[in-house]
């Protein structure tokens, strides 16, 4: 009996949270899913049921496929190198006691700068003739690149700034994760004659796996919803070469005012993210059961 009451109490306390979650997350998702079956744009000012028309159009939209490809490249290329390097830096800082605070500051600093300010800064760094990056390239005798102004480099330019921005943040998470790894394990491995690289591959990497899972999920969220730098630096251009799905949704919804298409894209994004989350927690979540305690 008493347990039952406890249970009800728990539900009772969940109500306010669930109410807002429902109002601002689930309801809009359902609303967008419904709108995705409607034609609704500047010339058709009231939603009009159109069946699968938006989805069919999407399949024939070259820009949509380009945007999906860009998103895939952006997410994979910016997540894994960032995670790997963040872990390496965390290990180096963790081992080097002297002056570590300065290393942490200098790596973490970009995370503290608001993305809007950082983006404006990088616009000048990327400036084709006067920017510091091209000046360096020229000094090295390499050809200057178009960076933001060229469709072959614009996406990479955005990946670089995202990498620069996220590295310190992930490094800090890893650094705290490393504190849970018992020192004795390293000492034992050291006595057994394991080298630096072997010690970390066999001890650190598996033992920070829970941290890695957390970082991975955070990184996926951060990179899938990338928006500020694109909006401020390239507006998805040139020729949609740096356009990714969230920006494409924004463009369709708030620039071209085609809400039907924007809702359709949103629904696609929700489905992708849902699948990804299920995969990550379904497969990786179960396996990570180590603990160093």
């Amino acid at each position: 009996m008493r347990e039952k009451v406890e249970q009800y109490r728990a539900y009772f306390f969940l109500i306010p949270g669930l109410f807002f979650l429902f109002l601002f997350t689930y309801l809009p998702i359902m609303w967008a899913a419904w709108l995705s079956f409607n034609r609704w744009n500047l010339l058709c000012f009231k939603p009009k049921f159109a069946g699968m028309a938006n989805y069919v159009k999407l399949l024939h939209d070259d820009v949509f496929w380009l945007v999906m490809k860009n998103t895939l490249v952006f997410v994979t290329v910016s997540i894994f190198p960032t995670m790997f390097l963040a872990l390496i830096f965390a290990i180096l800082i963790d081992e080097r006691m002297k002056g570590r605070v300065y290393y942490i500051y200098s790596l973490f600093y970009p995370t503290l700068i608001p993305m809007a300010a950082a983006a404006m800064l990088w616009v000048y760094i990327y400036s084709p003739n006067l920017g510091i990056l091209n000046v360096f390239l020229a000094k090295l005798g390499l050809p200057k690149l178009g960076w933001l102004g060229s469709s072959s480099t614009s996406l990479w330019a955005l990946i670089i700034i995202t990498f620069w921005k996220n590295l310190g943040f992930f490094m800090l998470i890893y650094l705290s994760g490393l504190q849970n790894v018992s020192r004795e394990l390293y000492e034992a491995a050291y006595i057994d004659g394991a080298g630096w690289w072997r010690r970390h591959v066999s001890i650190t990497f598996p033992l920070v796996a829970p941290t890695s899972l957390f970082v991975l999920v955070t990184a996926i969220i951060l990179t899938f919803r990338v928006f500020d730098q694109i909006h401020l630096m390239t507006e998805g251009g040139p020729g949609n070469s740096s356009n990714v799905i969230v920006y494409y949704i924004f463009e369709n919804g708030f620039k071209f005012f085609d809400w039907g298409k924007a809702s359709c894209l949103t629904t696609v994004l929700v489905l992708i993210l849902l699948t990804l989350t299920l995969i990550i927690f379904g497969i990786f979540g179960k396996r990570i059961t180590y603990s160093s305690d």
Partner: protein, 431 residues
């Protein structure tokens, strides 16, 4: 205790007094874009402060809303959210979209009060061409108005004088037509190994659809007809224009591909290019920072001189109290007065929309010092209204995306024009 009550009541009364005076003031929200490189936000704030001083019963809240695209997005979102601004300046091609949303009011009544056609005669006709809806009513009022012009670095021309002379060209004048543009650009390009030290010309990206419209006009064509419905993007004349661009960028490599719009003036100032196509609205920055002799000229002609006008107009919105609309008109009128239009022109490089600005002594003295500032105004004689159509953001995206693809060599000019043409027709029909 009694004293406390008295004090409290006095306090409440003081509050009420301030509250009532505050509500007597009309609050005007004013969204505006800055579409060129340069510190123009400060200039706008200064003009607003002056207006408030002359009209103490009106408070204007200027909101810098980003570039033209971003400003239109902000306006559209605000209108649909039921919280429109009182006044906004948006890019002139957006008029039909604003009308489609039923967002703005006609200004005919206000203009009638000011004296009707006699009042309008104070303003350049070329700038009023984009102000009218299909119903013949006037919905916009000119403010930051421009044409693209050709800037040229006189020192670089001089330095190449002997080479230019050998080719039968004059180093003391800019190119007058497309053929000359190619010749000058070729000679003025300086290469060192695999690096280009100096470009002949920059036709920037970002607003290349606008510059492209100018080339189209110079060749006797246009992008969309005046009705806002008939797309002519895929015309043979436009193909010739695009082929010229591709030749400059891909074949001759005398013009960088898709140089970002906002950075191009820096390239000109930094001596990276001998010529550039840019809005006259960027001239103040060049005037203040370029450390060499420079000139401004008409864009070279093909069949004729030609250019679209450009820039942004004021619009007054629906769904706000009448007293706000009246106050908004007062502000518009103030900004278009000879004094303010002249000040704006001097500080930015845009053309003063009010003809009387040019009769003012300060303007005359200024133009004597910087005759380059008169070029855009004189080019108005060859100017046409800019293309207008509903769903303009979608149309513009179709144009720039395909122009970009052609200029980067990823599509043939024929295919780029054909693809854009199809997308533009779909956008106009809302499919």
């Amino acid at each position: 205790m009694k004293r406390m009550y008295f004090f409290a009541i006095a306090l409440v009364m003081v509050f009420l007094f301030f509250a009532s005076t505050a509500s007597a003031k009309v609050n005007i929200k004013f969204y505006y874009p800055v579409g060129v490189a340069g510190p123009l936000v400060k200039v706008i704030n200064g003009m607003v402060a002056k207006f408030e001083k002359e009209n103490p019963d009106i408070h204007v809240e200027p909101v810098y809303a980003g570039n033209y695209n971003q400003t239109m997005q902000k306006v559209q979102t605000a209108v649909l959210g039921g919280n429109p601004p009182d006044i906004a300046v948006v890019e002139i091609s957006e008029l039909f979209s604003l009308l489609q949303m039923d967002a703005i009011i006609p200004l005919d009544k206000y203009i009638e009060q000011e004296g009707g056609d006699k009042f309008l005669a104070n303003f350049y006709e070329g700038f009023l061409g984009n102000a009218y809806g299909r119903d013949g009513k006037i919905y916009g009022f000119p403010f930051q108005r421009s044409t693209p012009i050709l800037y040229w670095n006189k020192d670089m021309f001089k330095a190449a004088a002997s080479k230019l002379k050998a080719a039968g060209l004059d180093a003391n004048r800019p190119p007058a037509n497309w053929d000359e543009l190619v010749k000058y650009a070729k000679i003025l390009t300086i290469r060192e190994g695999n690096q280009t030290k100096q470009y002949g010309v920059i036709i920037p990206g970002g607003w290349n659809d606008w510059i492209f419209e100018a080339f189209s006009r110079q060749n006797g064509s246009q992008l969309i007809k005046e009705d806002g419905l008939t797309v002519t993007f895929n015309s043979p004349e436009n193909l010739e224009a695009l082929e010229l661009w591709v030749k400059l960028m891909q074949e001759l490599k005398v013009c960088p591909v898709l140089r970002p719009w906002n950075i191009t003036p820096d390239d000109f100032i930094g001596g990276v290019t001998a010529m550039m196509y840019y809005s006259t609205g960027g001239m103040a920055k060049i005037r203040k920072t370029a450390k060499f002799n420079w000139g401004a000229a008409f864009q070279p002609k093909k069949k004729r001189y030609g250019t679209p006008v450009g820039g942004g107009d004021f619009h007054i919105f629906k769904g706000i109290p009448k007293k706000n609309q009246d106050a908004a008109w007062k502000f518009v009128k103030f900004m278009a007065s000879p004094e303010m239009a002249g000040l704006w022109s001097i500080e930015s490089g845009y053309v003063a929309v009010n003809k009387n600005s040019y009769d003012r002594a300060d303007m005359k003295a200024f133009l004597k010092k910087f005759p380059q500032m008169t070029v855009a105004r004189e080019q108005l004689n060859y100017a046409y209204p800019k293309m207008m159509a509903v769903n303009y953001q979608l149309i513009r995206n179709a144009m720039t995306t395909n122009l970009d693809a052609a200029l980067e060599g990823k599509k043939t000019p024929e295919k780029a024009l054909k693809d854009a043409h199809k997308l533009m027709e779909e956008a106009i029909k809302g499919q």
